[in-house]
Amino acid sequence: MKKQIGIYSRLLTVLALVATSLVQAISFSPVGASQITNRSLQLIQGADADNGGSIAGAVVKHQFTFTLPTAGTVGSIQFEYCTLAAGTCTVPTGLATTSATLGDESLSAVQGFSIVNTTDGTPYLTRTASATSANDVAILRLDSITNPTDVNQTFFVRISTFASTDTTGGAVDTGTVAASTADPIVLSGTMPESLVFCTGATVSTTALVPDCATATSGAISFNQLFSPTDTATATSQMAASTNAGFGYAITVNGPTLTSGSNTVAPMSTAVAGVKGIGQFGINLKANTVSTSTIAIGTEIAPVSNGTNYRGQALVDYNAADTFKFTSGDSVADSSNGGAGGTDAQIYTASYIVNVPGSQPAGTYTTTLTYICTPKF
């Protein structure tokens, strides 16, 4: 009895060790099928997206490239989508192939297919069974496939070729490819909205760039006493830059020159200065001696080029020796070459005053406010 137990014990030991070895040594492969080689699955974006084709749940294209190892007959090729490379096949969550179409086979050595997409997760291509040569390279793209909906999810496609046209019978060649959905990278940054605007008697440049830090006081005086026989003039300057996508507009705001209850008549239309009549007007141009004994004003600087310099004087204020003043008028904007952002430019506003002989004596003043409004 003891001898029998000892024999059984040793037998069990041997069996256990043999079982251990077998578990490590045995792998399961389709019997008789050859391995498809050089196989890959490339995920390609859909027609109207720039997402590379790996977005979870996106409708994309799946391009299979592989080499058929042996000469034979191929009537159908099946693409079985699974969560695992081997074993029981579970269709990945969200994957949909019932709308799949055969996208392209023009580069393939095996052609002439049409698609059968009736079973979700297992579309196959079919054709009249035809011969293939060893090492034929198949490049077959299936379109309108909905990716699995889980992000960063690996999924596998088991490719099998069949001699039959409907994937019946044993597979001739097989191979599995892997692909993965991907969580998109979301990148963002903020470009701060900017506007640099200043006014003063003068605004200078620093290193050739208009610099609002150099703006002087905005208190300016006319070059001479008002006279019915001569035109009094003055200038001020302002600088503006913005990155507003639709540029800026500058308005002038304030009353005409006033002394108590007396005023100098504003120029309500754009006209030339005429000595001896009441006129208060401005423009943003370089004027000539036809306006005043000493020419006043300069053109906008740097000169606008329609790209990074877009500032311009607006109608009624953009003609030399023609002046106008209406509170609230837009006198300039950054639309040269189209509304948009502009680097800093300096405007020179020229002011003229003409008075009639009956203009009451006194000190005439006004406070003008320029408002620069960017549109982002």
Partner: protein, 238 residues
């Protein structure tokens, strides 16, 4: 009686050898075992809702040996089926405030593992950052950072300029991933949607890639939030 006792012990030990016992993150200040198991066999793709692992043990040698015409993966017997794993480690990234005087940079990272393959390529897809109709132009090949000009570029290596940022691909013990040629030069940034940005020439363990993003803007770049969504596509050859 003694023989039965030892026989039973042998049987018990033999049965225990059938049960692989995975361990979590074996490491100390002096060592780390990336892929570990105690037992007589390996396990491919062990997973639950909380973890995923591939493990093996008992190998006299492990790794990949390859030439132009062949490759050998040495180690415990594993499945010949493809193994692909892709993970975004950090996929949301802010460049902060953009400026015409100072570059903006940030990083994202992802990992790829692709065993039993003949390598893989990593492509990136997506437009440069946009805000409405405004777009930050992509950097041409070989560009270094130039503040005040439109530049959107990336690379996958460690940089020192304009800032110390980014990392070279981290191949751990078994990875063979590398940055693609147009994205592998330190301090140079480039971007074309659809480009191959990384690759492994052969079967590769996990490689962690870090994408460094560079953005410069012109002074007149319209204000607003610039954003883009980019996608990584891995294509393995098996």
């Amino acid at each position: 009686m003694l023989k039965r006792f030892f026989g039973g012990i042998f049987v018990l030990l033999a049965l225990l050898m059938l049960i692989p016992a995975n361990l979590y993150a074996q490491q100390s200040t002096n060592y780390v075992l990336d892929e570990s198991v105690i037992g007589s066999s390996g396990s491919n793709n062990s997973s639950s809702s909380s973890y995923n692992s591939s493990s093996s043990t008992g190998d006299l040698s492990v790794g990949n040996t390859a030439s132009d015409n062949y490759q050998i993966d040495t180690g415990s017997k594993t499945t010949h089926d493809p193994t692909l794993s892709f993970k975004m480690i950090n996929n949301g990234s802010s460049l902060g405030d953009l400026s015409a005087t100072a570059p903006s940079m940030t990083t994202t990272s992802f990992s790829v593992l692709n065993y039993t393959s003949y390598g893989y390529v990593v492509q990136i897809f997506g437009p440069p950052p946009t805000s409405g109709a405004a777009t930050i132009a992509s950097s041409p090949l070989g560009s270094s950072s130039v503040p005040g000009t439109d530049q959107f570029g990336i690379n996958l290596v460690a940089n020192t300029l304009p800032y110390s940022i980014g990392s070279n691909p981290d191949n751990g013990q078994f990875g063979f991933g590398q940055a693609a040629s147009n994205y592998s030069t330190t301090n140079q940034y480039h971007y074309i949607s659809g480009d191959t940005i990384a690759l492994a020439p052969k079967s590769s363990g996990e490689t962690i890639y870090t994408i460094s993003y560079l953005v410069n803007v012109a002074a007149l770049k319209p204000g607003g939030k610039y954003s883009t969504s980019q996608t990584i596509v891995i294509t393995g050859t098996y």
